[in-house]
């Protein structure tokens, strides 16, 4: 089964990303984790490595937060994503 998920970037200015929203399909079956999504994202957008994503751990850098569908903030990269989900990448909030 092929899953379609999206990754959205908001408030990210440190790196020029091809598109604010990247939609891609995963062939890893009907269950994928945030780690899988980040891994695929990195292969599509290698320049995110070291700027937004830690390429060795496949985690977002600690200066960024991940949120699924605007509903749930994630810790680490083990949360599951379903077909049609969006991983939203934003700078870590500490005021303003």
């Amino acid at each position: 089964m092929t899953l379609t998920v999206a990754v959205e970037f908001h408030g990210v200015t440190t790196v020029q990303i091809t598109s604010k929203k990247i939609v891609f399909s995963s062939k890893k079956g009907n269950k994928i984790t945030v780690r899988d999504v980040i891994e695929e994202l990195l292969s599509l957008e290698p320049r995110l490595g070291g700027k937004v994503i830690d390429p060795s751990s496949h985690l977002l850098l600690s200066s960024y937060l991940g949120n699924i569908n605007g509903e749930k903030f994630i810790e680490g990269n083990q949360d599951e994503m379903k077909n049609g989900d969006s991983l939203i990448v934003i700078p870590r909030m500490a005021g303003g």
Partner: protein, 598 residues
């Protein structure tokens, strides 16, 4: 005493006299400095029931033990007074070289009382106070006032001044320093204006002793390194304007006077677009390694405008405007005349809705730059501007006809750019804050933007989070640290107490420092209770409690009350929000009203 001068300078503008008064070491240790010390001085020196714009209301500038230590982000000061917007405690903060100049005048706080007959500026140095005629600078903008006085007194000095808004007692006017930085909220600029005090020039040269310079040197280097890491990346890279598109996506960007939690015309004013289409320059406060300030220059313009998220929200989406040029012009105008952008924007948003509902005439129907023209009318107090200069609480009480339902303030202070119906921890913090709708004295949004709590759920865990956030913020604002450096600490209270120990020589630990935060917040509440606080003051605007957002998110009065109950419990207060004697005693506050400074 190390780290402090141990005294406050008290100036009487009416009598044109000044004196130094000692501040007991126990007070400095219990309230630290910044907003804590300012709150203590206000509690002592402001008579019960004082008119915020009368001669009795003291205007208090307070530094801290960290000022002049060159620790990163520590060049900050607080200013406090009874707020002309809320009638309760008002405090605000600003940064840069002025904090060092202020402290080098040989005191930890400068208190201005009384009222001058004629416009005055003060020159405060370690030798005393000069009272000078400000006739030639009245009516000048903040930049022109600062430049003029520096030329007159000397380029090495620092200036805190008010612009035309403060002179005309606009209730949300600011105090400006160091080239346009603002002590923005709660209307301290109007208090300064009510005293006919145009400016204070700080020109001291007296340094304090530090207890352990070697330890502090090591800490300084370590903090600089940490402050350049990932914890502060957002502020160095983009500044707070990054919030706009993030909040919009999360349904937490208030727009059109809080009718909506997102804004469809945001395109031109997101950080992403601003970085692509304009020239953005980062600026640092004195002794800061982060540089969160962003000066923006539009193509074809030579005007640099300082833009923060709160100004962007209040003079953009809140007014239904996504026009970048108008946003930058309005923000720059507010900085120059000394208007708090948040209160100004929220008051205009209320006016727009009054026009829409046929409650007030549109006096600007033919204007090509409506927002700027309304701001001008507020400062000149002409036409409807005279009413809008009073803020949403007062203006809606005059217009009536249900207009208070959409007057977006708490206790009189207008709402910042955080949508309470999708940020429930923040909703509670806005409702219970002693200074009104304030985002800075709790940092509660941080919990909502994390996996710690469910931001959509109004539950009883929110009370503990808000109390914890408030105490933490009170210590930050009293040490004083910039909020943007907070993530570099892994154990905030422990590390901060070690730094305070190195500066002062006190044997102070994390537990004692944490208790200072709780004490400061309770003292602020005591001030409000003395000035007539009622349980019903802890609430949110009717619109928030009665209307759902388009995505269905809402917050009922019952849900808010449940969270408020949990907050009072976490604070060890009575169910009606008053403070029991046991809590006062535990915090050594039971004698607060009897301490006299000599």
């Amino acid at each position: 005493m190390n780290g402090y001068h141990g005294k406050a300078l008290v100036i009487d503008l009416g009598l044109k006299t000044w004196r130094h008064v000692e501040i007991p070491e126990s007070v400095l240790r219990g309230y630290i400095g910044g907003t804590g010390l300012a709150a203590w001085l206000l509690y002592q020196l402001c008579p019960e029931g004082a008119d915020p714009l009368g001669s009795d209301n003291p205007l208090i500038f307070s530094t801290s033990p960290l000022v002049d230590t060159k620790l990163t982000t520590s060049s900050k000061f607080a200013v406090a007074s009874k707020s002309p917007l809320t009638g309760y405690i008002g405090d605000s903060m600003s940064s840069s070289k002025i904090a060092v100049s202020m402290k080098r005048t040989g005191c930890d706080a400068v208190v201005v009382t009384g009222q001058s007959k004629d416009w005055t500026y003060l020159v405060v140095s370690d030798g005393g106070v000069d009272f000078c005629s400000a006739k030639h600078v009245v009516g000048l903008s903040n930049t022109d006032t600062e430049n003029e006085l520096k030329q007159l007194v000397g380029s090495g000095v620092s200036v805190a001044c008010i612009g035309p808004a403060g002179e005309r007692l606009v209730r949300y006017s600011t105090i400006s320093n160091d080239g346009g930085r603002q002590a923005g909220r709660t209307g301290t600029g109007a208090v300064m204006g009510s005293k006919k005090l145009k400016a204070i020039v700080f020109a001291g040269d007296k340094k304090v002793e530090i207890s352990d310079n070697d330890t502090l040197d090591g800490i300084r280097v370590d903090l600089i390194e940490k402050s350049l890491g990932l914890a502060t990346a957002k502020y160095r890279d983009t500044g707070t304007i990054a919030n706009a598109s993030v909040f919009d996506r999360l349904g937490s960007l208030p727009s059109n006077n809080f009718k909506s939690g997102s804004f469809k015309d945001l395109g031109e004013i997101t950080a992403e677009t601003i970085y692509q289409e304009t020239d953005v320059r980062s600026v640092h406060c004195a002794n800061c390694t982060i540089g969160c300030e962003k000066l923006i220059t539009e193509p074809g313009s030579n005007k640099q405008v300082r833009l923060e998220y709160q100004s962007l929200y209040a003079l953009g989406p809140l007014l239904g405007s996504g026009n970048r040029s108008i946003l930058l012009q309005s923000t720059n105008y507010c900085d120059e005349v000394g208007l708090d952008t948040v209160s100004a924007g929220a008051t205009i948003a209320w006016y727009f809705e009054c026009i829409e509902k046929g409650l007030l005439d549109d006096e600007f129907a033919n204007s090509s730059n409506k927002i700027l023209d309304i701001l001008r009318s507020i400062v000149s107090r002409k036409g409807i501007g005279n009413l809008l200069a009073e803020g949403t609480k007062f203006a809606s009480s005059i217009v009536e006809e249900g207009s208070s339902d959409f007057a977006m303030h708490v206790k009189g202070l207008e709402m910042p750019g955080y949508e309470p119906r999708t940020l429930k921890t923040m909703a509670l913090a806005l409702a219970v804050s002693t200074r009104g709708a304030c985002h800075n004295r709790s940092s509660a949004y941080e919990y909502d933007f994390s996996s710690v709590t469910d931001r959509f759920k109004a539950d009883s865990e929110k009370g503990g989070l808000v109390a914890k956030g408030e105490d933490y913020s009170a210590v930050m604002d009293s040490m004083i640290w910039c909020k943007f450096v907070r993530k570099v600490f892994s154990e905030f209270y422990k590390e901060s107490s070690e730094i305070l120990a190195a500066v002062t020589g006190w044997d102070i630990d994390a537990e004692e420092l944490e208790a200072c935060g709780e004490r400061i917040n309770n003292l602020k509440k005591m001030f409000n209770m003395r000035e007539g606080w009622l349980r019903e003051d802890d609430t949110l605007p009717n619109r928030v409690l009665s209307e759902s957002l388009e995505d269905g998110n809402s917050l009922s009065e019952d849900e808010l009350n449940l969270m408020i109950k949990s907050y009072y419990k976490a604070r060890h207060w009575n169910e009606d929000g008053t403070i029991p004697f046991e809590t006062l005693k535990r915090l050594n506050l039971e004698q607060a009203q009897n301490v006299v400074i000599s």
